[in-house]
Point group: C3
Chain length 215, copies 3
Amino acid sequence: MDISKIMQFLIPKDKKFFPLFEQAADNLVKTAVLLNKMLLIQDAEQRDVVISEIKEHEKIGDDITHNIFEELNKTFITPFDREDIHELTSSLDDVLDYINSSCQRIRLYKPKEISPEFVDMAELITQACREIKTAISELSNLKNPKKINNACIRINDIENQADEVYYLAISSYFQEEKNAIELIKKKEIIQTLEKATDMAEDVADVLKTILVKSA
Amino acid sequence: MDISKIMQFLIPKDKKFFPLFEQAADNLVKTAVLLNKMLLIQDAEQRDVVISEIKEHEKIGDDITHNIFEELNKTFITPFDREDIHELTSSLDDVLDYINSSCQRIRLYKPKEISPEFVDMAELITQACREIKTAISELSNLKNPKKINNACIRINDIENQADEVYYLAISSYFQEEKNAIELIKKKEIIQTLEKATDMAEDVADVLKTILVKSA
Amino acid sequence: MDISKIMQFLIPKDKKFFPLFEQAADNLVKTAVLLNKMLLIQDAEQRDVVISEIKEHEKIGDDITHNIFEELNKTFITPFDREDIHELTSSLDDVLDYINSSCQRIRLYKPKEISPEFVDMAELITQACREIKTAISELSNLKNPKKINNACIRINDIENQADEVYYLAISSYFQEEKNAIELIKKKEIIQTLEKATDMAEDVADVLKTILVKSA
């Protein structure tokens, strides 16, 4: 055990990972912005154009994930624990996947209306993605652990707000939507959007683990 | 490799984890008892009072989980493999989360009736949580591995019974419930309850792994 | 660190795992073939007979999984990384679980018709399982890494086709099925079938990881 820990002090840490994490965070913010844009479009066909763009960003994210995993398999000394790199990468990809899935559901289900709770949730997702980007950009030097920590606290706070939006949405759908098929559509779309904020919280959790271990 | 294994014999094992696991198991049993209590209440508003209590217990569980993970990040020599501590903690938390989620669904969906299968499933969940508590209380000394093993066998058996209850419930809902929205409500509530017993089985699986490794 | 890596060259690798993986892959192909057979049966009662057979195969798979995990806990030097053996075993089991779950849903939900998309999806699942079997049979000697790699590429391709089938199915159900309860049935059955191809992709991912590490 932990010859590796000693070696981590002796051998220069591999810096290839940080630009890849930043690419992932950057791609995430861009996708969240497109999500907001899409939800404000009235016309379903025009919405589908933006949904295709979001799909493209999901593929870019897959490539970044793939590059990080390949790097991880090749690299002997990693800047922090391999399992944390793996977890961080997967959770970043999960946020992106849920944003894309929500959009694909909108495209496939063709709900009669864009529920206002979708817009509220997309706004929270975007805030969470921006906080992720802030935290990730501090990760390479760790000179400002407090900045990462504060971003994580805000992500947790955003996730709590998302829970509230979700609960109110579900409650109102079940109270007011009398068309069962429209209810299913709305319910599943808001669930998928809310999942994206859960995944953002997973990103915050692994960032906090990295901070604790490097303290 | 496994200088760590040798060291585990030389260095006193860290005992801080066991009281935390016991807290988690204890909190789980209390929450399961509240679940049963809640399902027997006829009045929806009075039910919501108990559901709020259950939510409080879920927060207590989150704090315990957080404490264990923090301990894990600080501790050099753990009483059993780090990955198993992680897995045990997460699976205990998952049981709690699914109990709470079921309750939140009841609160949000306001189903017209509490289906008798919910009560049957809650009874099985409580039995599983009691078995978990029994097993966990034996974990610190491992003098009675057979006791842990027997608890795990009973949890597996309970999970099989839960599967049966679940299958019969779903089958009867689809046969008898003609209101699609009420069907969705019942189906998702029983699914979430059943998930809690799946997670109890995950707890049993990791306990068995710990037993095998320490044999 | 990585005294283990050195030892892996010195000590004969444990060959017990490969026959177990082959059993798992073989059981998977047989189950997928039964799935196809079942979906072509018009009579619901006769379908249920084949669904019971599929359930038996799922239990066989559980036993194989259990044997691999037990072997893993007993074995000091594994033929490749423990975590990859774990991941491969779990993902093989996940494919089987989702095939079985789809069938159980058909049994419980009693959909008025077997949607043609179920049949298309079952065909893709079977192709993916055959590719898994091909890849697994090459794993013990690794003389033909290209053969494993090609199987993985084909699994990815099959998963993309499955996505297409899924999207078209969901879209047509929401456009054409006016009975909300029948819509729920079809939607959940196709979702569970599609999940089986996702899990096949997870198998391919871990196989690729094993290849990269052993290169």
